[in-house]
């Protein structure tokens, strides 16, 4: 496996790079396979994974699932003997899909609501990096109506329009002290929206080996008139006026995925996905305040992400008519360059392990469960902008469950 990964890496030397805020939890079956499956017409989650494969789905269906995600990150200042941990907060990535088409026809309609980007990190108000960040709660919810057409018995294409509703709450401590010694605090909160698309091509060869090419466009999410609240000693109030607002822009990157599906036997299928995440558009995180003062200038924090990539392999085994078992492994290259690692996304290259199980008590109902685990490598960094100097280490745990009704 390692060798395979390594050769995959070497064959694409320009894809040096994974994840950032990307959340790869969009369908229980695919999650159980480490997120691979763009080349499989597995279920209604193909609306996300490959709109082109939707027209190859045999049934109409509707499903909903959730993956409570626990992001456990630790930090140790360089030279320190104290390890600090994020608070246990559970983020709720979810997904819901519906796919419908007249039985004999070559087209299908689909809709998906899912959360491809997000972050929930709460380091608390006392940790040693609090002047860089105390907490981030970022949610991007994509709504995607989709049309998929089976051009021939071997080729399907599909595309969907994406509307993103974004929600962000970013907080940090300010290094100005009240008479009792406590620090000031800044809270930036806002909602925004953005648009994009998701299109895919699905090819089923005569040998039943399947191929996928999928491109999900970038979604530049604009936040307008977010609220900027500064808790500071009253003598600094004129520098940090009350009722201030801000505009910001969060560019969510495009992703290009190549997938292969290989039927090993009648009941067992192997899926391989290689994704190229075009994070390079995330150049900076800029806040443009409505009211500027000598102490409160607009901020432009360089992020300078490079493109990320991931390689995922999963296996789906239909153990019986009613029971399916899944497993997957993957590896992702971080888009965050040295010097730009921040506590809101303490990113590094990561290993992915997953397992899943599906159970269909009747021909109409299906229950799928998954467990997704990521081991983000330990990374010692000194941030160029903030001087935050230390080692981050993160583990991600996400169990998930979904219910499907088919007809």
């Amino acid at each position: 496996m390692k060798k395979l990964l390594l050769s995959a890496v070497l064959s694409v030397p320009l894809w040096v790079f994974g994840q950032g805020f990307q959340v790869n939890l969009q369908g229980q079956k695919q999650i159980g396979m480490a997120g691979a499956g763009s080349a499989l017409a597995l279920d209604e989650a193909s609306v996300f994974y490959n709109p082109g494969a939707v027209s190859f789905l045999e049934k109409n269906s509707i499903s909903a699932g959730v993956n409570p995600l626990l992001f456990k990150s630790a930090f140790k200042q360089t030279g320190s003997n104290i390890t600090e941990n994020v608070k246990n907060k559970i983020a709720p990535p979810f997904e819901a899909y519906a796919v419908w088409g007249p039985k004999s026809n070559k087209w299908k309609l689909g809709i998906g609501v899912y959360t491809p980007f997000g972050g929930l990190v709460d380091w608390g108000n006392e940790w040693s990096g609090r002047y860089a960040l105390t907490s981030l709660n970022l949610k991007a919810i994509y709504f995607q109506p989709t049309l998929s057409v089976k051009i021939t018995d071997h080729i399907g294409i599909g595309a969907g329009f994406v509307y993103n509703h974004g929600d962000v709450n970013l907080q940090r401590a300010l290094p100005v002290n009240y008479p009792d010694g406590r620090s000031g605090h800044a809270t930036l909160e806002g909602t925004g929206s953005g648009y994009g698309w998701n299109a895919g091509l699905y090819i089923k060869t005569l040998s039943n080996i399947t191929f996928a090419v999928v491109h999900k466009s970038k979604v530049v999410t604009k936040l307008n008139d977010g609220t900027a609240t500064f808790d500071v000693p009253s003598s600094l109030r004129s520098s940090f006026p009350e009722g201030n607002t801000f505009n910001a822009e969060l560019p969510l990157p495009s992703t290009t995925t190549l997938g292969i599906g290989v039927p090993l036997s009648k009941s067992t299928t192997l899926a391989f996905d290689a994704s190229w995440v075009q994070w390079h558009i995330y150049k900076e995180l800029a806040f443009d305040y409505a009211v500027n003062t000598s102490a409160l200038a607009d901020t432009r924090s360089a992020r300078n992400y490079r493109d990320g990539s991931s390689f995922k392999m999963g296996i789906n085994h239909q153990a019986s008519e009613k029971l399916a078992l899944r497993a997957g492994v993957g590896y992702a290259f971080s888009p965050v360059q040295d010097g730009y690692v921040t506590p809101e996304a303490p990113d590094a290259d990561r290993y992915i392990l997953s397992a899943g199980v599906g159970y269909a008590p009747t021909s109409h109902f299906e229950l799928n469960a998954s467990f997704f685990f990521e081991d983000v490598k330990s990374r010692q960094q000194k941030n160029i902008e903030t001087g935050l100097d230390g080692t981050f280490k993160t583990l991600v745990y996400a169990p998930g469950l979904s219910l499907t009704y088919k007809w």
Partner: protein, 436 residues
């Protein structure tokens, strides 16, 4: 049906397994490179030799809050993780917590500060207020505000009575009979820090380059070298290891960088648009227009002199800003030259003795330019810079934590020890007034 039960069992078991795995989801671990060690040093009894910076003097006074966060105290707390013992300091009691008194920031209007004195309650001779309550008992923070290298060897012993912070620590029998070099001996230390010599240049500079008494002398370079050698010989008499610190550039502190001729002229013009230039009297007695290379002392801001008198003070060549308010360009060059000489002496003597060097000279210059440490921007700006307290010379708790880490790094590098660094974010900068 049987198969169904098996499937349910498998699903059930997998879910249980997943739940257990989730619940047991161990915290991520960050490995520490090596076990904590004192390396080749022995921190079991650490003593700190120095002046006001070592004592925790801040905001123009010595008071309990400052004493507690003096860099040697922060350092000693970290040393405790690598075999360091207890560290005692001559703290004021809670009832005397305001010590010699200090200044606080009571208002900040459009960036203009109002500084208000907080009266001391550490006096034993109220209302004269020249003598502090005595402190008896063994101490390891031996920093004395105002201590100079030359006066540490005061052959007349008069400084022990003249300096109230030194007098406070002495028995009645010792006052007038002992100098600092003698006082610090016989303490069975295993490790020391020495940050002394600042006042040998700063005393002169703070008086505008005018020598009026023994505390405002610019110590001769050869004298400095001779006495520093003696001091190191005393401290290493038993083969002890230690860390010495260089002397910061006196122009790196807000005391000399806040009140600029340009700012004064702007203030004068606001009142009288006819004001054309700021005039100063230099060390040679000459009167000339001030340039940006002439440094005016911070207290001039609140002295209320500018523009006063029938010939407006500082705005006319016949009534220039007096010599003692200004460290003029030539005096700046002179002080810098002396400090550079002191620092080469300190470094070369330390190297000869195999001692660690905390290069605070370089660090203060870095702070002057502005740095970001753990998400905090610190610089040498008065009040907003965060590193310097309200007297413009001494450090805030945050500044002490930053400097203590310079010592930690120097000690660890020299002796192969692994003293953990101090979390600077736990320490405050200047306290801003709050009406709530």
């Amino acid at each position: 049906m049987v198969g169904d039960i098996n499937m349910k069992k498998i699903i059930f078991n997998s879910l249980v397994a997943a739940t257990i795995l989730f619940a047991a989801s161990c915290k991520p671990e960050i490995e520490t490179p090596a076990a904590r060690t004192a390396g080749t040093a022995n921190f079991s009894k650490y003593i700190a030799i120095g002046n006001s910076l070592t004592s925790g003097y801040a905001d123009g006074g010595l008071y309990l809050e400052g004493q507690k966060v003096a860099y040697p105290n922060l350092l000693a707390a970290q040393m405790a993780t690598v075999g360091g013992g207890s560290f005692t300091s001559p703290f004021f009691t809670d009832a005397q917590a305001n010590g010699s008194g200090y200044i606080s920031l009571s208002a900040l209007v459009n960036g203009t500060p109002t500084l208000t004195p907080v009266l001391g309650n550490g006096w034993r001779d109220t209302p004269t207020n020249t003598r502090l309550f005595k402190y008896s008992g063994e101490i390891q923070n031996l920093g004395i505000p105002g201590m100079r290298l030359d006066l540490a060897f005061d052959p007349t012993f008069t400084f022990s009575a003249a300096n109230m912070f030194f007098e406070r620590l002495l028995t009645d029998a010792q006052v007038g009979k002992v100098n600092y070099a003698a006082y610090i001996q016989g303490r069975n230390h295993t490790f020391f820090s020495l940050w002394l010599g600042n006042n040998d240049a700063l005393g002169y500079a703070l008086n505008g380059g005018v020598t009026t008494d023994a505390t405002t002398v610019l110590t001769e370079k050869t004298t400095f070298s001779f006495l520093y050698t003696n001091m190191l010989n005393i401290l290493t008499a038993g083969g002890q290891k230690g860390v010495v610190a260089t002397i910061p550039d006196v122009t790196a502190v807000p005391y000399f960088n806040t009140v600029t001729p340009a700012a004064l002229l702007a203030a004068a013009k606001a009142i009288n648009p006819a004001a054309a230039a700021i005039y100063i009297q230099t060390g040679t007695g000459a009167v000339r227009v001030a340039t940006s290379e002439d440094l005016i002392r911070l207290p001039f801001q609140t002295a209320g002199l500018l523009g006063t008198g029938s010939i407006p003070y500082g705005l006319h060549p016949l009534n220039p800003i007096a010599n003692n308010w200004v460290l003029d360009k030539d005096e700046v060059i002179k002080v810098k030259d002396y400090v550079n000489s002191y620092n080469s002496t300190i470094k070369s003597l330390a190297n000869n003795k195999g001692l660690a060097v905390a290069d605070t000279y370089t660090y203060f210059n870095t702070v002057k330019a502005g740095i970001s440490v753990q998400g905090i921007n610190i610089n040498a700006a008065f009040i907003t810079g965060g590193a310097f307290s309200l007297d413009g010379i001494h450090l805030t708790p945050r500044g002490n934590a930053a400097i203590a880490n310079v010592f930690v790094d120097a000690i660890n590098a020299k002796y192969g020890s692994t003293i953990p660094t101090i979390d600077i974010t736990k320490y405050r900068g200047v306290k801003y007034p709050d009406s709530k």
